[in-house]
Symmetry: C2
């Protein structure tokens, strides 16, 4: 019955004529489209427009902050669009007769889908801080390979060096270790986070100290929406999930970075921050290694702690507020106003128990990259001062 209806809908759609030229004239190509591709597109109200070739499909849905049915054109392409979206970066994929696929016309970004398609909504006053600006000296994002003794594998990390780094060969720099969220990887902050532009602009304005930023994989990848056939292991428990990264960070990554770059290699000049699961990792691997770090940031962090557990959680770092306030240069906690990661409750609990911290709310954003771009933009100027 369902199939019959789908076939009828497909037939009806097949003869419909959509004013494709109208779309082209009132929209522009998203910056996430591959070279010379016409889609994805965006309009002035923040709608995203998609196009996908599937001549024999019965149904194509685009999943982009909601599910939207697409309509088949005469030439085998399906076309559809979203409602207006918030400014910033949004993952999407197509569901083609039940198969989830990415868009061959989009650049791909690490996300819960694997290498996922995405669209960037550029309109509105927001965004100059995360775009390249004329006249601003630009740093580099360096892909580095190192061998991890912990995991007995070659690993790749990305290292942002500020624009002045090569020109001042005697100067040493503080280091921020910056982690992605669940299902993402070491590419996230530079590709969809635009961290290099955020840092370049802040440093050029004199708002942030020139610093090195290190981005590695938190090994917190999981494949939502697939059965276990697609995965190497069964789903890890919460405590196991991405737990392997802690020893790699402390024993392999930090020594590699300090040996390879001109770092200031003491705790006063080392920060750790992360978004979502990376916020959890910042608490789990940063706050529990107070000899290594003294600046911390959690953006929409997945922090599992209630008042009862506070004395013992994270190796007891929250057992003594006076000691915490003395040892910690900064604990920054941020989140979007349209998400619920328990951040407000966490901040209130910390305040009630005397733990100094900074609390930031990104207005109108959910669990998404605009929240985290804003968080980094707020957080970085407070570091190493």
């Amino acid at each position: 019955m369902k199939k019959t209806i789908l076939i009828l809908i497909a037939l009806m759609i097949g003869v419909s004529v959509v004013a494709q030229n109208d779309i082209l004239s009132k929209t522009k190509v998203s910056e996430t489209a591959l070279f010379q591709r016409d889609y994805p597109r965006v309009d002035d109200e923040g709608r995203a427009y998609f196009c996908f070739y599937a001549p024999d499909a019965k149904s194509v849905v685009v999943d982009c902050q909601g599910k939207y049915e697409m309509t088949l054109q005469d030439d085998g392409y399906w076309i559809g669009h979203t409602d207006p979206l918030v400014v910033g970066f949004h993952f999407y994929h197509f569901v083609v007769d039940g198969a989830k696929v990415s868009d061959p016309m989009s650049e791909t970004y690490c996300g819960s889908f694997g290498r996922s398609s995405a669209v960037e909504i550029p309109e509105g006053p927001e965004g100059d801080y995360y775009r390249p600006q004329k006249g601003v000296a630009r740093g580099q994002v360096r892909s580095c390979v190192y061998f991890s003794e912990q995991s007995q594998e070659y690993r790749r990390c990305f290292v942002y060096t500020p624009a002045e780094y090569d020109a001042k060969p005697k100067k040493r720099y503080p280091v921020l270790y910056l982690q992605h969220g669940m299902c993402e990887d070491e590419l996230g902050w530079a590709n969809q986070g635009k961290m290099n532009h955020i840092m370049d602009n802040l440093i050029a304005e004199g708002k942030a100290e020139p610093m090195i930023v290190v981005m590695d994989s938190g090994d917190a990848a999981i494949s939502f929406g697939f059965s276990t056939r697609g995965r190497r292991n069964t789903v890890a428990t919460r405590d196991e999930f991405g737990a392997t990264f802690g020893p790699i960070l402390i024993n392999d990554l930090i020594p590699f970075i300090d040996a390879t770059f001109r770092t200031l290699d003491d705790r006063k000049h080392r920060a750790m921050a992360g978004l979502s699961w990376g916020g959890h990792q910042t608490f789990a691997f940063g706050l529990t290694n107070m000899d290594k770090f003294s600046w911390f940031g959690s953006f929409s962090g997945a922090i599992f702690m209630n008042e009862q557990a506070m004395k013992t959680a994270y190796d007891g770092v929250f057992a003594d507020a006076d000691k915490f306030n003395k040892d910690v240069n900064l604990l920054f906690i941020g989140a979007g106003s349209a998400e619920n990661m328990g951040t407000a409750g966490l901040s209130a609990m910390l305040t009630k128990n005397g733990f100094e911290h900074e609390y930031y709310i990104s207005e109108g954003t959910a669990h998404e990259w605009l929240t985290w771009r804003r968080c980094l933009h707020q957080f970085a100027p407070k570091l190493f001062k």
Copy 2:
């Protein structure tokens, strides 16, 4: 009729039982699989195995050096494999009821499909030269953003710096400009070409001079297999295709590199090479700017020149063999034995007319990345000596 047959086949496949555990035991996960994914896989004879979730599809074919039908399992996953493939890197995509899609379980790489899936066949004696080796000092691949006055856009290029670069802040280095092929982009040489490992290993062995390698987009992307709806422009003519890159290279990129890195900035210390269309660009933009370059490499190059056209092609650089032999430090021409890009004929024509060059044939490889990894491995040691 065709549809009826497809439905019958799908029904037959639907009740078939494939020994999935057999596949898992006799194969291993390809290095191109995303973190924690079980596929793509490879066996000891060089077959690649694939898995794709499409419960309602009538037909799924994997296109990987040939088209192979996949079979539907009880859980909605389709499974299939290739015949034995040559060692190295191979693009693939799925054709799902006529829709071409990439594999959500694979890393993505720029290719003719857009961001395409790929599998790496690792077996056989080949490959140590393009894999990281223990004890070898490793260079970095730096992502850099610059503004092109020619194209009025921010562009991204990748710059390989040798391992010693930061440790020797007074030393200046020769530069190789290394181009990708048609449909690929600035990511190709570092991601699927493994140029950083090739260079690290050659430099560590003392076989190649420490050098900077610059990889930018040749703007030679095109989308084969899509109708014009997916593309911004109609197909460019041969002369127009990627032609915009020449002025960007000469007027924007080279000055940016020389201003940003410690380069030796004369023609004696500047090389250009490329694969396929990048070989054409090396002839078109390298040989015609002899004041900028004196070392050249064309790997499976798309060189359009017959003996009649020789006197006038490429701004007449082949009009005078004596002048050519005096001006050019190296012209290296390579190709795979299993492809036909006219390279043997080009070499014979150059020899007949007195143009000195080196000619290299990669045995048993076609128009594929193993040919180009081998070409770079042969070419780089000859540079700047």
